[in-house]
């Protein structure tokens, strides 16, 4: 009904906005490649990284190895393709986990309001006092390297954004007449929260979450570069770039292609976001901007 016509209108506007539509296509391609990755890598063993071919080290791009080979003779194209799957796993898990933590807290804080609500929000603010990535770096340095720890570290620094968004949404919805009606009918608070407020408040949070996936990929790459990301030989794109750094003067291709993969994927998400943000509520955006990103 209302939601679907809203989505239809957004799609219509998105298609009209060519640049954003290009971003949308990139994102779709990324998800598609990420899911199919194990089946479309030319050299699956190279992709996973457990084999060395010492006779074909540091080969420049050719028909056989379009992205060249690395220090251990592994096919870079295969590694970059499989890397998309890790980027997809990381971004989906980070955002999913952050939503799982952030949304309920924002919902409760917004609904209860008062002292409890503002106390919860102050805690979220404390987390946001850290510049992006830094809190994740501290967490990752404490937990140690590995895919799981990367996901936990990034999610811990990410959830407060959704708490804020959810808090604002809930605050505006809880004064609606139908919520009063639900209260008068004697519905239990959890029922009101999850059946009546959550479905109406979640849409902008989900839109934001989908768009944040690009940033998650970028930050995971940053963690890898600082040595607190995934463990080698995981073909995560950031780690691939980092591994190529030592030999960049002899073999530029090792770092170039995974970096391009990050750039293009994140660009896809951000171009899509850029269009969507102009389409969706400009007043909210105005408010966000005029208050320096803090509502």
């Amino acid at each position: 009904m209302m939601v679907s016509s809203e989505v239809k209108l957004m799609m219509k506007l998105l298609i009209k906005n060519k640049v954003s539509f290009a971003g949308f296509i990139i994102v779709l391609t990324f998800i598609f490649v990420g899911i199919l990755a194990p089946f479309i890598t030319p050299y699956p063993a190279d992709a996973r990284g457990w084999v060395f071919h010492m006779n074909q080290r540091l080969l420049p791009p050719s028909w056989k190895h379009p992205f060249g080979t690395d220090e251990f003779g592994r096919d870079m194209l295969s590694r970059v393709i499989l890397g998309s799957r890790y980027s997809l796993i990381i971004s989906v898990s980070v955002i999913g986990l952050a939503l799982l933590i952030g949304v309920p807290i924002g919902l409760v804080a917004g609904y209860l309001g008062g002292k409890v609500g503002s106390a919860l929000m102050r805690i979220a603010d404390m987390f946001l006092a850290f510049p992006p990535l830094l809190l994740a770096v501290a967490m990752a340095a404490t937990l140690g390297r590995g895919l799981r720890n990367v996901i936990i570290s990034l999610a811990i620094s990410w959830w407060p954004w959704y708490t804020r968004l959810m808090y604002v949404q809930t605050n505006s919805i809880k004064t609606m007449p139908y919520i009063d009606a639900a209260k008068v009918l004697g519905l239990r608070t959890p029922t009101i929260l999850f059946k009546h407020i959550l479905p109406n408040a979640i849409t902008p949070v989900m839109v934001q979450a989908a768009l944040d996936m690009g940033s998650a990929i970028l930050e995971a790459a940053g963690l890898s570069f600082l040595g607190v990301g995934v463990k080698p030989p995981t073909p995560e794109w950031g780690l691939l770039v980092t591994e190529g750094w030592a030999s960049i003067n002899r073999a530029w291709w090792i770092s170039l292609f995974p970096g391009l993969a990050i750039l293009i994927t994140v660009l896809g998400f951000n171009l899509m976001a850029d269009g969507l943000r102009e389409i969706t509520d400009p007043r909210l955006r105005r408010l966000l901007i005029s208050r320096g990103g803090r509502i």
């Binding site: 060519k18 640049v19 102050r122 805690i123 603010d125 404390m126 987390f127 006092a129 850290f130 510049p131 992006p132 990535l133 830094l134 809190l135 770096v137 501290a138 967490m139 340095a141 404490t142 937990l143 690009g214 970028l218 790459a221 940053g222 570069f225 600082l226 040595g227 607190v228 950031g238 770039v241 980092t242 750094w245 960049i248 003067n249 530029w252 770092s255 170039l256 970096g259 990050i262 750039l263 994140v266 660009l267 998400f269 951000n270 171009l271 850029d274 102009e278 400009p282 955006r285 105005r286 901007i289 005029s290 208050r291 320096g292 990103g293």
Partner: protein
């Protein structure tokens, strides 16, 4: 000026509360989450005796609240532990490395503002045209590029291959020694200006171009996008149309009237991006061997120098909070409507 003393006091109190919160979060991460904090604290090559010392120093045999109490006391005394890599107090190290980072970030921001805002205005005026599309894609690219990768590529092309610009460090040591340059503030560009040491100034300028350009990509894109979005909004405002209709020339209406509405929020958002840029500096400094706080932290990370890692991260978080407060106050001071 719309800023009152009460507001300043209130903001300072809030700042203190946030700093306290930051320190407590760091305490939780460093002391409560790891099973053996003393192992992290003593470093990977520590002897049993050193680990035992770390246990005592961290007071791990005492209850949590006692640990927290002494943690806070030590923190506000500037007693942040000793880096086992440099064998110096972490706090002293941070103060030592800070100017290089600030210099780099400042130059990056100047580039971002000087290039970004005019690009944003241009895109807004020509919105819908191909110029707008190009500026838009470029500015979004700035927010999408992995900055450490861009740094590597820029260094490879402009320094290693073409040899146009130096790719490592802040200044050539030989030039420093030959000219008898001495540090005053730690900001080499500023110090060399004060001493009128042109050789060092030009050398330092050459050194800062590549890393600051790479670092400016994100805030430049951000300021261009922000300027564009806000400018388009202002161009649609009644008061902009009124100023045109009343006969104020377009150029004046754009660059005197509309731009003023845009500048304050753009600077506010740049203030927010300061954190991002600082983190970008972490990555860029490592590539360019730029002896700043980011380089220090990155080296600490690579060698598991835990006190140094945690100390510098805490410091940057607090620094970031202070900057945000200053940006808020500036924002309030520019806008006559805001009475604080």
């Amino acid at each position: 000026m719309g800023v009152s003393r009460e507001y300043l006091i209130q903001r300072t109190l809030l700042l203190f509360a946030v700093v306290l919160g930051v320190v407590i979060i760091v305490f939780i991460i460093t002391r409560i989450i790891p099973a053996h904090p003393e192992l992290l604290w003593a470093g990977p090559h520590a002897t049993l005796k050193q680990i035992e010392e770390a246990r005592k120093e961290l007071m791990l045999d005492k209850p949590i609240y006692v640990q927290l109490y002494y943690y806070l006391i030590n923190f506000f005394k500037g007693n942040w532990g000793v880096s086992w890599r440099t064998h110096r107090p972490v706090f002293d190290d941070i103060i030592n490395y800070l100017p290089a980072t600030l210099e780099l970030v400042t130059v990056a921001f100047i580039i971002a503002i000087v290039v970004g805002i005019p690009l944003g205005v241009l895109a807004a005026i020509k919105r819908g045209s191909w110029i707008d599309a190009v500026i838009r894609v470029l500015s979004v690219t700035g927010a999408s590029v992995p900055v450490f990768w861009l740094a590597m590529i820029a260094q490879l092309i402009f320094s290693s291959k073409l040899g146009w610009l130096p790719g490592f460090k802040r200044v050539d040591e030989i030039v420093v020694l030959e000219t008898g340059f001495r540090k005053i503030t730690g900001f080499i560009l500023l110090d060399s200006l004060i001493e009128r040491n042109w050789a060092v100034f030009i050398d330092a300028l050459k050194h800062i171009i590549l890393p600051s350009l790479v670092l400016s990509v994100y805030p430049m894109g951000l300021s261009a996008r922000m300027t564009r979005a806000l400018m388009i909004e202002v161009l649609n405002e009644q008061h902009f149309r009124a100023s045109i209709a009343w006969g104020i020339p377009k150029r004046t209406a754009l660059f005197k009237y509309a731009l003023k509405n845009v500048i304050a929020p753009v600077i506010a958002s740049l203030g927010l991006s300061f954190g991002y840029t600082l983190v970008g500096a972490y990555l860029v400094e490592l590539i360019f061997n730029w002896p700043g706080l980011g380089y220090y932290t990155a080296m600490a990370l690579l060698s598991y120098d835990y006190p140094a890692i945690i100390g510098s991260i805490t410091f940057v978080a607090i620094f970031y909070t202070v900057i945000n407060m200053i940006v808020d106050i500036i924002h309030a001071a520019i806008d006559p409507r805001v009475k604080l």
